[in-house]
């Protein structure tokens, strides 16, 4: 009854191999002829998107900026794109997966402290989007006390919201992508979205200009930069020279105009950079927090504990639901009429045959037209309904493991079928089921990390946020692993003990 524990895991190993291959190719014959750059096509237009005419290619203003940089570096270089998850750009560039990260990468002091960062090539405004009904009530972050405000995790906007949480008491909601925050704004799950004006305008276009309005007063101003590995500062200086040239000769302006992102603030930015020489536009956002690692770790512990609490809460509620769903399904399969048997079997096969991630999206976003579930409830529902299918099979197996002659003995003694289930079959099946159930709970504990895709900040998500903040996975990863193990190891031990005690069918 053990299950493949990897069934929910997303495959991410493939990309890594493709990336290393690209790097290897680019390094052939000593001198690189190709500028390998990384971006996230999931971020979409106007930054980087798959070309509708040829989905194997990408297009967008960041694509053209990369092309312009490659050309400007000389030697007949061309730019080659590799896909990378947006939140991993810094880590990947430092690993050497590509030379230049370029995909709406924000200029922050923390990033400048850890990597070689180009001068700013684009100025964006952090703007608030609200529902039309609210546009007269909400003017800035201070008006959002007690309200839910969405943004993309690990961004300047997210840092602004965290700072505002402490000062104004609003509730930041972190998303993994920049589409769903607006969908949830229209759906009423959040009350505002704080993001780059390009992203806000794109979202508004997608919705046909309806559903929300963008407030004209920006909350902050930021810049997009290219990011290189810390050791690549010489190449960074060459790229800065190319960017300056592109600002001077108007090629950057042409690119921006082609993608409709040109505005006056860009020419002001260009002038300032060409005047001052260096990338002196100033980095936005909060500085890298805490100076010494131990202080950072201590400061992090409360949020770690809160996230671990969320993981535990989601897991326990989901498992409780899964037990009831599993019991209902197993009884339907064993005792039900033929249509009920077919129905329960179909449910079990459907749930076990499709990814949990898909089920999460369907319940949270797919159903939002019918019923708008809060994220935590949607997470518990998805996990509980999913694991219920697995529990059902455990219970069915356990019920069938109770010997037929015992059931017949119960009949000859005059027990009704319900009494037999309650007094003879159920209690014994429970013993057979306890050990595999405990195993399932351990698996659920870890699968609960998937619910971060629907904005629940649990242990794994909190770790990813922290890792982005401190620029390393070593300490956050170790802390995260320790907390998971502290929760799962005692359960695994309990499972083994139960298995030893009740494992044998002949008991």
């Amino acid at each position: 009854m053990l299950r493949d524990s990897a069934r929910h895991r997303q495959t991410c190993g493939v990309n890594v191999h493709v990336l290393s291959l690209a790097v290897a190719l680019s390094m052939q014959h000593g001198q690189p002829r190709v500028l390998v750059w990384g971006g996230d096509a999931e971020g979409g237009a106007p930054f980087v998107e798959a070309d509708p005419a040829d989905p194997s290619r990408v297009r967008g203003f960041d694509v053209e900026v990369a092309d312009r940089i490659a050309r400007g570096l000389g030697g007949g270089r061309t730019a080659r794109f590799v896909q990378v998850q947006w939140s991993n750009i810094d880590q990947s560039v430092e690993r050497g997966d590509f030379t230049l990260g370029l995909s709406g990468v924000e200029d922050t002091q923390a990033r400048r402290g850890r990597h070689a960062v180009t001068l700013p090539y684009f100025e964006f405004r952090e703007v608030l989007a609200v529902r039309p009904d609210d546009q007269n009530r909400i003017h800035d972050l201070a008006d959002l006390r007690g309200r839910r405000v969405a943004t993309l995790g690990a961004t300047i906007a997210y840092d602004l919201l965290i700072a505002a949480r402490d000062s104004t008491g609003m509730i930041p909601v972190s998303f993994d992508d920049d589409v769903h925050p607006y969908a949830d704004l229209v759906a009423g799950r959040v009350d505002a979205v704080l993001l780059d004006h390009i992203i806000a305008q794109r979202a508004l276009r997608r919705m046909g200009g309806r559903g929300f309005v963008i407030l004209s007063q920006p909350v902050a101003v930021g810049h997009y930069v290219g990011v290189l590995a810390r050791a690549d500062s010489v190449l960074r200086d060459s790229i800065d020279a190319v960017l300056r040239e592109a600002m001077r000769d108007g090629s950057l302006e042409q690119i921006y105009r082609r993608w409709s992102v040109w505005d006056d603030s860009q020419s002001v930015l260009f002038e300032r950079i060409l005047r001052t020489g260096a990338g002196a536009a100033g980095a936005a956002g909060t500085p890298a927090r805490g100076s010494t690692p131990p202080a950072q770790v201590v400061a992090y512990l409360p949020s770690l504990a809160r996230a671990a609490g969320v993981t535990l809460l989601v897991s326990m509620l989901s498992m409780t639901l899964a037990v009831f769903v599993g019991l209902a399904l197993a009884s339907g399969r064993l005792y039900g009429s033929t249509p009920l048997r077919i129905l329960t079997t179909a449910y079990i096969e459907l749930i076990r045959g499709t990814p949990l991630l898909l089920q999460l999206f369907v319940i949270y976003y797919g159903l939002s037209g019918v019923v708008r579930l809060p994220a935590l409830l949607a997470a518990v529902l998805a996990l509980g309904l999913n694991y219920g299918a697995y529990e059902a099979e455990i219970y069915r197996g356990a019920l069938e493991a109770v010997s037929r002659t015992q059931l017949e003995a119960a009949r000859t003694l005059g027990f009704s079928e319900a009494q037999t289930l309650r007094l003879v079959r159920g209690p014994q099946a429970l013993r057979y089921a306890l050990a595999p159930m405990t195993n399932d709970f351990v698996a659920l504990l870890k699968d609960s990390s998937l619910v971060s895709v629907i904005t629940v900040v649990e242990l794994t998500k909190q770790t990813a946020i922290y890792a982005t903040n401190v620029g390393s996975w070593v300490v956050p990863g170790a802390l995260c692993a320790i907390v998971y193990l502290a929760m799962s190891l005692p359960l695994a031990r309990l499972a083994r003990r139960l298995e030893r005690r009740w494992g044998g069918r002949a008991a």
Partner: protein, 218 residues
């Protein structure tokens, strides 16, 4: 006095093969009847048909006025009167693994007959003592020897006080001394006015302890 059990031309078919062709027998109160025959002769099938665990194709079974007719086994709700009249001791004992010896015996008393826990405990303790396993009341089924488990199973079947007791191969796992003791126990049960139908291939046991034997051929 009319017979406690009447089996009249009982016929059971499995896969278009007759397992039992035309079995007829009677068991009176206070009588032990052995149902003899080699393996596969249909002894167990006959007991299961009487206990309404098994459908039959032809003939009739009457237990103390309660009639069973050919066709599918009726639902349990229509068999309550039969269940009160017939007890069955399985060859494999089929004790409830999750309950102590005592609770195996009290379960039906409490949940079918609605007795209080104290009353049921008293009845069960007395039965277990009479069957010489009183000291094992607190033991789990897996801790019992074959002979002990059999006597607990007899106590469980007797607890609702059925008029007819069916036993399937009771001597299969017993040494000669134990076999003698079992025979004596069964005689004592009969003297209380019960009827016993014992399926066995043990000719010596049948000769020594039963009033009559009915022979089946394979």
């Amino acid at each position: 006095m009319s017979a406690l059990l009447v089996i009249d031309r009982l016929r059971v078919r499995y896969d278009s093969r007759d397992v039992l062709r035309a079995l007829s027998l009677e068991v009176a109160r206070g009588e032990i009847v052995s149902l003899m025959g080699p393996s596969g002769a249909g002894k167990t099938t006959a007991l299961r048909a009487v206990a309404a665990l098994q459908a039959f194709d032809d003939g009739q079974i009457v237990v103390d006025g309660f009639g069973l007719t050919p066709g599918p086994v009726p639902p349990e709700s229509r068999l309550r009167a039969l269940r009160r009249r017939v007890g069955l001791v399985f060859q494999a004992h089929a004790l409830f693994e999750h309950l102590t010896a005592l609770d195996n015996v009290t379960l039906a008393l409490r949940h079918v007959l609605g007795q209080s826990r104290a009353d049921a405990d008293a009845v069960a303790t007395k039965l277990l003592s009479e069957l010489d396993v009183g000291s094992r009341a607190a033991a789990w089924p897996r801790q019992l020897s074959g002979g002990e488990a059999q006597r607990v199973a007899i106590a469980r079947a007797l607890a609702p006080d059925p008029a007819l007791l069916l036993m399937d191969e009771p001597t299969a796992a017993l040494d000669p001394a134990r076999r003698g003791a079992l025979g004596a126990t069964l005689r004592r049960l009969c003297e209380q006015g019960r009827g016993l139908l014992v399926a066995t291939h043990d000719a010596e046991f049948a000769r020594e302890f039963s009033d009559r034997a009915v022979q089946l051929t394979a």
